[in-house]
């Protein structure tokens, strides 16, 4: 029971950090779940994160994986609800106030200021993820090829990621 409360607290906190997308919360997600609570190892977290890129719906539904990994179905449910509720309530409230905020002079300043910080947070998340995932030149090359493919074509990102996985299996079997 205490663990469910801990899961709820961690994911409610992480929820508030998802500025500009879920990846912004990744550095703190790693710190809390791996270094502080020891709920899972860094490679396990990376695996769930990567699998999450293949799941439909909002990204970061992998929070349910982490919850389930720690405390089964209850953990998954608590992690999901805690991750959605704080920002969900905020969005709900601001959505109703928005008409009044639309011409607030600070709104564009906040949008632009937080926008650049959000890009920095996504980059930090990518660096931390990369440190754990790009452990040999093969993986660096794989990431570079996927990046190039996604920049140059309109292919659905799920395909090159699945293709990377199959390539990884092929290389292991050869």
């Amino acid at each position: 029971m205490k663990q469910l409360f801990e899961i709820g607290g961690v994911f409610a906190y992480l929820s508030l950090l998802t500025v500009g997308g879920g990846m912004a919360a990744f550095p703190e997600l790693k710190d809390l779940t791996v270094n502080i609570h020891h709920w899972l190892t860094f490679p396990e977290l990376i695996h769930y994160y990567s699998l999450g890129q293949l799941a439909p719906g909002p990204n970061m539904m992998m929070v349910a994986s982490v919850g389930a990994h720690v405390a089964g179905l209850g953990g998954a449910a608590v992690a999901l609800v805690a991750f959605i509720l704080p920002t969900g309530l905020l969005t709900f409230a601001v959505g109703r106030l928005w008409v009044r905020l639309e011409h607030w002079p600070w709104r564009p300043a906040i949008q632009r200021g937080l926008g650049s910080v959000a890009v920095g947070l996504v980059l930090a998340g990518a660096i931390i993820l990369g440190r754990g995932a790009l452990v040999s030149p093969f993986y660096v090359a794989l990431a570079a090829v996927v990046f190039a493919l996604l920049m140059l074509t309109k292919v659905n990102p799920a395909w090159p990621i699945v293709a990377s996985g199959l390539l990884g299996i092929a290389l292991y079997l050869v």
């Binding site: 396990e44 349910a64 969900g88 905020l90 959505g95 650049s116 890009v119 947070l121 794989l142 990046f147």
Partner: protein, 184 residues
């Protein structure tokens, strides 16, 4: 709150179902594209102007874009219960799959073939994140100062291990002040 859609607001059951289907089929990120084709084009619950307006709110506030959009659209169409059902419908399929993935991982995660797969998709995911960052950057980084703020944030968090809230509030406050409204 008045509805601006070109069709009458749906029943709560229908609302949940449409979001559930979008939540189950939007594979590979880019949920916003799925949302627009679902809500504006197919169901005609919203026009493009309201869609863009709600999207701007979703992207400004913390939270996942797709979840925020579901809450705003659900609220606009059917009030509070609509917001709850739309968000649940959007999240449940992916969350259920990822919960199942955790159980499968417990069973087969140590198998060398699945490890080879997982390690390689992690590299692919890094490529995807970089693409997301470049796209986000192209949209929001408008001047040299914005690049500096982004670079400092990344260096603080990834290089010096500064906790995200401090970096977010510290650099965020300076960046907002930098772009503060001047004159009137």
């Amino acid at each position: 709150m008045s509805t601006t859609g070109t069709s009458p607001p749906p029943s709560l059951g229908r609302l949940f179902w449409v979001f559930f289907v979008m939540g189950a089929t939007s594979i590979g990120g880019g949920v916003v594209g799925y949302l627009r084709s679902g809500l504006v084009v197919r169901q005609r619950w919203l026009d493009d102007a309201s869609f863009v307006e709600l999207l701007a709110i979703s992207q400004t506030l913390p939270g996942l874009n797709a979840t925020n959009m579901s809450i705003l659209v659900g609220d606009r169409l059917r009030g509070t219960p609509g917001a709850i059902l739309a968000a649940l419908g959007m999240c449940l399929p992916g969350a259920a799959l990822m919960t199942a993935a955790a159980f499968a991982y417990g069973v087969g995660g140590d198998d060398p073939v699945s490890r080879a797969f997982l390690r390689a998709i992690a590299a692919g995911a890094v490529g995807l994140i970089l693409m997301v960052m470049v796209q986000l950057g192209a949209k929001v980084l408008a001047g040299f100062a914005d690049y500096v703020f982004a670079g400092i944030t990344a260096a603080l968090v990834a290089g010096f291990g500064v906790p995200v809230p401090y970096a977010l509030i510290g650099v965020g406050a300076v960046a907002i002040w930098w772009h503060r409204p001047r004159g009137t």
